[in-house]
């Protein structure tokens, strides 16, 4: 079905000769043979493999797999962190006409078993003992799984099993085969050259936050085409380098690092361990970088905290030149006209502050950086851009093989996700949902045609499930998950996540939950950020004993009221959002916690659960009362249960008219 869509769409084919990643491997070994393809920090030293060496490693492993009885179409699970050998497994399997299936390494055994069973994997390549143990715990329930190959020997010495192989031994088998039969290498190469771009290149399982994970099948030629387009879009070449630290099973890593790496021929650098990423980043100084907004937030926080402890002179430099950067930095980055004095001040700042700071963060050489996945605060986004880091946003999903939209250099804003990516066709459905067709578009969900049909429109567009609209300059703006978007009684649009995110950009607010669907107005629960507000309380001599006491403090309410007020002012400037400004809010007496089921393990708000648990408080938001007594059960970290009770105050907020920006005080009902 997908192939026919492909042809019907008539999307441009610019990379027809090279339509699989193993073909790119051969090309890169020829063209950039002595350039680095892969680095890994091991025993404190960066080990490097050139493209030629990488070809040798991959060929040896592929032939070793053949010796183990690998057959065309076999599926191979890849389980572990970012390691060269796991990346080589992808190409080796693809070169034999097999399908790699990367799996989230931190998945619990049942989840992993489900994916491996569903995909019908025959081989599994695992990083270490931990992953091997996990695989062995359910191996007998997966009839298709015959062999497990591991990368790191440690702790596996005493495992005696026919089904277990050391990665190096498999490679040795492959090398022995070439030794015995020199034509084996040539046959392998011929196989790679004659492979079809119509084969499935990789199967990426969705993380499964909404139900069972689904296996997204990506066609080789589509994957190559998508990567080809964005490599061109961002001018990536073999001279670029990336730090491959994102989860292997996530489309972002597979696309940004693996696919783009092969197409552009640049070097992937694997960190020593997950904890050493900041140091490794600094040592490598990548030119292309991706990080979710929370990473940038973490960086800024650590910088701010360190500056608080710095001497007066350093503080002065920091303040002065961040101000200069705020004024001129983005304009200089975007090559807009800037007065000479501004340029000089910025150049001085580069020497005194921006340069050293970027160096410490490992961002000195960045040419292109992207962030995606969550909304990013305008101040945060501008801070990094003003330092001269070309940080941009993209919007994508697994089904698109990442890119749906991305921002062009010079047309970057924090509240949009950019124009459609090259050759991507986007439309907004009548219900406000974003739909797209793209070169990298998936073939379908593995073994689930009905789910595939559900995710597509009859005319071949993929439904993203996100609600959004095009801004006046043609950039896409994502507001929420389509199913969460509702309407107030007066018919105005209510997008809870949009409101929550706007609130959460204030450092004082850690979490917010908005209500309003089918109600008269929007109202919110707020969790204060204990670190930020606690710090503020300390500086202002406000004594408090617990989160609960601080949350109920009148001055905290005053401070949060100012944040809510500012949020409303921002909402009022958005024609689509102005109707759903916050009229009443309260600060919750306890922190929302995954242990109590209020957040998911990935720290996302579980809206319906919270609505049920705090039903009385929601009613109080809408019945006009000014306070409400509640008692809530909580689970402590050691598993014991207890109750917290409190009288929660409910506050009113100012509403702004959408046309004029002066507050209109609304009477409490």
């Amino acid at each position: 079905m997908s192939a026919s869509i492909w042809r019907r769409n008539g999307l441009a084919h610019t990379a027809t000769a090279l339509d699989t990643f193993p073909k790119y491997l051969l090309r890169n070994a020829e063209q950039f043979g002595s350039r680095p393809a892969m680095r890994h920090k091991d025993y404190g030293i960066w080990q490097t493999w050139t493209w030629r060496q990488q070809l040798d490693e991959i060929r040896a492993f592929a032939l070793g797999l053949l010796e183990l009885g690998f057959e065309r179409g076999d599926k191979v699970a890849v389980v572990g962190a970012n390691r060269p050998r796991l990346y080589w497994t992808f190409t080796a399997v693809q070169s034999l006409g097999g399908i790699p299936v990367p799996v989230y390494a931190d998945a619990v055994a049942e989840e992993m078993a489900y994916v491996l069973d569903h995909a019908g994997v025959r081989f599994a390549v695992a990083q270490d003992q931990e992953q091997v143990d996990k695989l062995l715990s359910f191996a007998d329930q997966i009839p298709a799984l015959t062999d497990i190959i591991y990368d790191e020997k440690r702790g596996l010495r005493d495992y005696r099993s026919e089904a277990l192989h050391d990665f190096e031994e498999v490679q040795a088998k492959g090398r022995a085969l070439i030794e015995r039969d020199p034509s084996a290498a040539k046959n392998w190469e011929d196989g790679v050259r004659s492979a079809s771009g119509d084969d499935v290149s990789v199967m990426l399982y969705t993380s499964g936050t909404t139900g069972r994970s689904k296996g997204v099948m990506i066609r080789a030629a589509s994957a190559v085409q998508a990567a080809f387009d964005t490599v061109k879009f961002d001018n990536l070449t073999e001279r670029d380098s990336v730090l491959a630290y994102l989860p292997l099973a996530w489309v972002g890593d597979h696309y940004l690092n693996y696919a783009q790496g092969y197409v552009a021929g640049f070097c992937m650098n694997c960190p020593e361990s997950q904890q050493t990423v900041p140091q490794d980043l600094r040592e490598i100084g990548p030119t292309f970088y991706f990080a979710p907004p929370r990473v940038f937030e973490g960086l800024l926080t650590s910088v701010t905290i360190r500056m608080e402890d710095a001497g007066r002179f350093k503080k002065w430099i920091f303040r002065t030149f961040t101000e200069v950067a705020r004024k001129y930095g983005e304009a200089i980055l975007e090559k807009r006209p800037v007065p000479l004095a501004g340029r000089l001040a910025y150049a001085l700042g580069e020497i005194l502050l921006y340069g050293p700071l970027k160096n410490v963060l490992g961002l000195s050489k960045i040419r292109v950086a992207y962030t995606a996945g969550e909304a990013i605060g305008a101040d945060l986004f501008s801070f990094f851009r003003s330092l001269g880091i070309n940080l941009k946003q993209l919007y994508g999903q697994t089904e698109a093989f990442l890119y749906v939209t991305c921002q062009k250099d010079g047309e970057v804003r924090s509240d949009t996700v950019g124009l459609p990516a090259p050759n991507v066709d986007i439309r907004i459905s009548e219900g406000g949902e974003v739909q797209f067709r793209s070169p990298g578009m998936f073939v379908g969900y593995y073994k689930e045609p009905e789910k595939t049909a559900e995710a597509m429109t009859p005319d071949g567009y993929v439904k993203t499930g996100d609600a959004g609209f095009f801004d006046t300059d043609g950039q896409l703006k994502i507001i929420d998950r389509a199913k969460d978007v509702g309407k107030l009684c007066d018919g105005s649009l209510f997008a809870p996540k949009y409101i929550e995110n706007t609130l959460k950009f204030f450092p004082n607010i850690k979490e917010a939950v908005a209500f309003g669907d089918g109600r008269d107005f929007a109202a919110v629960f707020i969790n204060i950020d204990l670190t930020a507000v606690g710090n503020w309380a300390e500086r202002n001599n406000i004594a408090y004993a617990s989160y609960q006491e601080l949350a109920g403090h009148p001055r905290v309410y005053e401070m949060i009221a100012r944040n809510v007020d500012e949020t409303n002012r921002r909402l009022s400037q958005e024609p689509a959002m102005a109707g759903a400004q916050i009229r009443r809010f309260l600060i919750l007496h306890k922190e929302l916690d995954a242990d109590d089921g209020e957040l998911t393990r990935t720290q996302k708000v579980r809206r319906s659960f919270i609505a049920e648990r705090y039903g009385e408080l929601i009613e109080a938001l809408y019945d006009g009362s000014s306070e409400k007594f509640v008692s809530t059960e909580v689970t402590f970290e050691d598993g014991r249960k207890g109750r917290i009770s409190a009288t929660v105050k409910i506050a009113e907020a100012n509403i702004y008219g959408s046309a004029h920006a002066s507050p209109v005080r609304e009477a409490a009902e």
Partner: protein, 274 residues
Amino acid sequence: MNPRPSPAQFAGADDGIAKGDVLLKVDNVSLSFGGVKAITDISFDIRKGEIRAIIGPNGAGKTSMLNVINGFYTPQVGTITFRGEERRAMKPHHAVRQGIARTFQNVALFQGMTTLENIMAGRSVLMKRNIFWQMLWHGPALKEEIEHREKVEEIIDFLEIEHIRRTPVGKLPYGLQKRVELGRALAMEPSLLLLDEPMAGMNLEEKEDMSRFIIDVNQQRGTTIALIEHDMGVVMDLSDRVVVLDYGKKIADGEPDVVKNDQAVIDAYLGVAH
């Protein structure tokens, strides 16, 4: 081009003693400080390749026993035979040269130095070049330094402390400091490793980590381990044989299951009138 040392390279110093034979023997040792008898007539042995636990209530003489083994105290009576060599008096640095390393009940690291420097310090005993060459830091001394650094990197990898390689030890949480201390002891490539309460003050997760490292050190590096520990669960799980002291006397000796059910041990721990 990717030199991955095999675990076999780690194996502790080869001392010609077969696994399971007696590595260290304590015979009728008594130690007193003035009128206080810390240890009275204690005999036991440690076999090569085993994990030997020394347990007992507070003040039972466990740490004194460890101090006797590594030469910090000299007992008034009795002998200690290590690798077939009998000795009575010796200094701790002799013990180190003989292949005995230890960690302490309270972390005893160089707080201002980094993890890497602390573990490198553990290698100093194995460095052959004198201080002149080391200060010159050139030629043979540099080569030697690199060799030692490689060994240290293996230990860092082994203990999974890559991320704190360049962090001053004083800034680390307690559990990690304990791990660095273990790393420094390992750097001496001991054939007998003495651990004085390796899990004191740790939370459950840190204890589990530390237990795993102790087992790994024992199994992969083939290091013989003698440890003092208060957490009975840990002791019973980890050790091959346990010796129990109470008021400076040995009251039981044997495999964990036997010791656990010994009436004298139960009495000592539950506090029956003596």
